[in-house]
């Protein structure tokens, strides 16, 4: 239990100095020991150690002080509040990353397609002009797959980073924490009731509510700060990766444009040779022309997509910048409103319990 709860401790800077606050609050029981609700514990069959524990907690006003300490912690926490990045900014970054990965994967396929198609055109035309019969056709020079793999690896890392961002930014998580802490408070109340039927547990519920609201808020704050820290650290690496990828994709784009122009020239040359053969009908030639043009158009679209690489990678960087600078103000307000409402309701309940 110690490890998970240690995580609730807010990061340095937000609650710096809170131990002092707790000390000053915890120093008050002596002053408030004259309160009317402080009674001597009844003599029951409950063991001494357990009775002492609950007598201190439930009857000496310790819980009120505990709640006040939490309020102090939360008040200090509010001073350094940080908000989550906007969910849509995180989603936009993930989409931009996927687009860039798809682009590079298509670039890798395109290298093979153009090398094979150019090799085939040369081999088949040589055969048509009664030159050598090369089978299978020899592909034009290919880039080593390793060249593309290194780039896919960095984009894959960016993709996983984007997925981790989306997972940690789950808007429901602080609420889940609050629910779990609140549930813990309920079972503690039930436990105290069973262990000491005469114990005054009317203050347990409100205190559990305050602790739950405070824990929810502090964990949300802590996560928001940590997420921003990671995003700020990763930002220069992302920018450098995007710059390198843009440069490399520019080089690949030049290569594929050249290969595509060569394919068109090879196809044209083959069509000229076919036209010279009087046995090939005009209708057949037109059909061949349409087939070649359709194929060329499809490849030209794929090459043209690479032209968008700079824009796509810039979009990726912009999306990350937006993610870093955006603040989910709505969520921040909702979280704060929930916190204030929960605390004010529970403090009222505590006051009532104290008066009764």
């Amino acid at each position: 239990m110690s490890e998970p709860y240690s995580s609730v401790t807010p990061p340095r800077g937000i609650l710096s100095g809170h131990p002092t606050v707790i000390e000053s609050r915890t120093a008050r029981p002596a002053a408030t020991s004259k309160c009317s609700f402080v009674r001597e514990p009844p003599q029951t069959a409950v063991p001494d150690t357990r009775r002492r524990f609950f007598a201190r907690g439930a009857r000496s006003g310790g819980m009120i002080l505990f709640a006040k300490s939490w309020l102090a912690l939360v008040a200090i926490g509010l001073a350094g509040c940080a908000s989550y990045p906007k969910s849509n900014a995180v989603a936009q970054f993930a989409v931009a990353t996927n687009t860039a990965t798809t682009l590079l994967q298509n670039a890798s396929k395109l290298d093979l397609t153009l090398a094979q198609r150019n090799g085939y055109e040369v081999a088949v035309t040589r055969y048509l002009v009664n030159d050598t019969f090369a089978y299978p056709p020899r592909d034009f020079a290919l880039l080593d797959k390793q060249r593309i793999a290194a780039r896919i690896a960095v984009l894959d890392a960016i993709g996983k980073y984007a997925a981790a961002l989306a997972a940690v930014e789950d808007p429901q998580q602080p609420a889940k924490i609050g629910e779990a802490v609140s549930q813990l408070g309920s079972v503690v109340t039930a436990f105290v009731k069973v262990s000491d039927p005469e114990a005054d547990v009317s203050r347990f519920g409100p205190v559990a509510g305050i602790v739950s609201a405070g824990a929810t808020y502090l964990v949300a704050q802590r996560s928001a700060i940590a997420i921003r820290d990671v995003a700020n650290t990763a930002d220069p690496w992302l920018k450098e990766a995007a710059d390198l990828l843009a440069r490399d994709l520019g080089l690949l784009n030049t290569r594929y444009r050249r290969r595509l122009a060569e394919l068109a020239a090879l196809q044209k040359q083959k069509a000229i040779y076919l036209r010279e053969d009087q046995r090939v009908s005009r209708i057949e030639l037109e059909k061949r022309y349409l087939e070649l043009y359709t194929e060329y158009q499809q490849l030209a679209i794929q090459v043209a997509t690479l032209d968008q690489s700079k824009k796509i990678l810039k979009g990726l960087i912009d999306a990350h910048d937006e993610l870093r600078s955006s603040e989910d103000v709505d969520r921040q307000i909702l979280l704060f409103k929930t916190l204030v409402e929960a605390i004010s309701t529970d403090v009222q309940a505590l006051k009532k319990a104290r008066q009764s």
Binding site: P4, V46, D131, F140, V154, I177, A180, V230
Partner: protein, 105 residues
């Protein structure tokens, strides 16, 4: 700089061969022209591969750094999950104790 110039020269050469095919070469010269084109493409590919290789060490570093950032984010999520699980487990344990307590008393 020498590399850049050589690359530009090979590119120009590829352009000349492509233009020749575009305008039509006699069938008897087709093999010579396409052999030359293939050879030029092999050279150009060598240059392009060399240029792409230059940045690969940096890609490896960046990949590692980004994986570290991913791990950091996963740690944040794990810590939050542990808080929830810890509270739930504690609640379960206390609930069991509560049910056992009347028997012990």
């Amino acid at each position: 700089m020498k590399c850049k110039e050589a690359y530009a020269d090979w590119t120009t050469f590829a352009g000349i061969l492509r233009d020749a095919l575009d305008h039509g070469v006699p069938a008897t010269h087709y093999a010579v022209v396409t052999d030359a084109l293939e050879a030029v493409e092999t050279e150009l590919t060598r240059f392009e591969a060399a240029q792409l290789t230059q940045s690969e060490a940096r890609y490896a570093v960046l990949t590692e750094k980004l994986n570290e950032s991913k791990a950091d984010l996963e740690r944040i999520k794990d810590e939050n999950d542990k808080i929830i699980q810890g509270a739930e487990r504690a609640a379960q344990a206390i609930a069991i104790l509560t049910s056992l307590l009347p028997m012990l008393a």
